[in-house]
Amino acid sequence: MSVLHAAETPPHLAPVAERLREVTVEVGSGEGSGAGILWAPDLVVTNAHVARTASLQVRLADGRCLAAALVAADRRADLALLRVPRTRVALASLADSDMVCVGTLVVALGHPLGLRSMLTAGIVHALGPLSAGGRRWIHADLRVAPGNSGGPLADTAGHVVGLNTMIAGGLALAIPINDVRRFVTATLARSP
């Protein structure tokens, strides 16, 4: 955001980018790849449409590749939980997505079109369903592409507010992180 006037150093998003890079993984299923979020030392969350097979490859930001097993996938919610060997890594810091407002600055980290760890920035454009009665999305006015799926949408403090899932009308649609949290909690309750 070089347009800002600041007394000394201009504010920038580099610290947020670094923080998000550490908690964003690449998820490969043999047929294309997407992104994922490090949820716990042995858990990764991504989209169900990214995790299409029972065994997957997870690549950490430091280049290590881990074998991952699908714990559960909810195709309707488009969410999947993966188990990886326990590693010493930074974990995603989660925001309360009910507190997100239209106009809030947000960033996305992912691997659009196979380009690793790309950061894009924009604002929350709208909150709510695509059509009446549908599920609630965070609509973000920022550039994303295939390969961002499963990756974080975060505020400028680096707290994850949503999981980038699809593109509609030029907007990025993210699943609110509170919905993701409920999915993980319910999944672990069933298969600890």
Binding site: P11, H12, A126, G128, D141, G169
Partner: protein, 294 residues
């Protein structure tokens, strides 16, 4: 980094503030547009989004429906002013017009609220338009944003977004120009429509003629109809005249006449530059007011 978070909170705050004065406007089939409560009882939107024969309804930020009537339009600026009983809704706060500079961060709002962010990319550059009425902005105007407010980082209204013809350049009409139109409605109950009483078609100007007369424009309009007892007829315009400019605004296509005939022109005498029989001429025409419909 706290300053980035401060900016983020400021943008979200600007949206929340401005959204209190924003309506969804149902004045065309399917896609609603956006409107702004400019003064008590007076709502501004984009003229092309409210069809004249349709009843207009508004949806308030808290989901109530209100009936509205078109009180006046300026198709040249693509602004319509509606009357509606908006009760206790907050009237939009306007930003000081003179403060606006290229590079300022701005937000465009749709009803919902929905928002996009960008910068002011140019001022006063639209061809054929009088100065100080338009702002070019670098942001995305999503479907339904027409007629919505362009606001600064404090949520104060800078202008009204119009989607216009181009998908690449986005425009807004400056708040000061919008306020002049709203003043017409508040004082006289309507926006006067300037009127000449001619029908025109576009024509290409021959290279030889352009060179001889030192014209930069490649096209103009040819008069194909002059209404009897019209201001144009009284001013001496006849069928076959090629109109080059009106009141120093270049007329390259018929739409430019609408842009040149602003409400303020009603009652004024303007210079119309024409070519008749290959020779340039200047006529003085007293601009009239279009009689109301019906």
């Amino acid at each position: 980094m706290s300053t980035v978070m401060d900016l983020s909170n400021a943008l979200a705050g600007a949206v929340a503030t401005a959204a209190r004065s924003v309506f969804a406007v149902h004045g065309r089939p399917r896609l609603p547009s956006t409107g702004v409560l400019w003064r008590p009882g007076l709502v501004v939107t984009a003229s092309h989004t409210v069809e004249s024969e349709r009843e207009v309804t508004l949806t308030t930020p808290d989901g109530q429906s209100l009936a509205a009537q078109v009180a006046g339009r300026d198709p040249g600026l693509d602004i319509a002013v509606l009357r509606a009983e908006a009760g206790a809704m907050a009237v939009a706060e306007l930003a000081p017009d003179a403060d606006l500079r290229v590079g300022h961060l701005v937000l465009a709002l749709g009803a919902g609220p929905r928002a996009s962010v960008g910068i002011v990319s140019a001022l006063d550059t639209r061809a054929g338009r009088a100065p100080s009425e338009t702002i070019a902005v670098d942001l995305t105007l999503y479907p339904g944003f027409s007629g919505g407010p362009l606001v600064d980082v404090l949520g104060r209204v800078i202008g009204i977004a119009t989607s216009g013809a181009s998908r690449h350049l986005q425009w807004a009409i400056r708040a000061s120009a919008v306020s002049r139109l709203v003043d017409h409605v508040a004082q006289r109950g309507r926006i006067p429509r300037a009127y000449l009483g001619i029908g025109t078609q576009p024509v290409a100007l021959p290279e030889a003629l352009r060179e001889r007369l030192g014209l930069e424009q490649r096209t103009a309009v040819i008069v194909v109809n002059v209404r009897p007892d019209s201001p144009a007829g009284a001013g001496g315009l006849i069928i076959g005249d090629v109109v080059l400019s009106i009141a120093d605004a270049v007329i390259a296509e018929p739409e430019d006449i609408v842009a040149a005939l602003r409400p303020e022109r009603v009652g004024q005498t303007v210079t119309v530059r024409i070519v008749r029989g290959g020779e340039p001429r200047e006529l003085r025409v007293a601009v009239g007011e279009r009689p109301p419909r019906g």
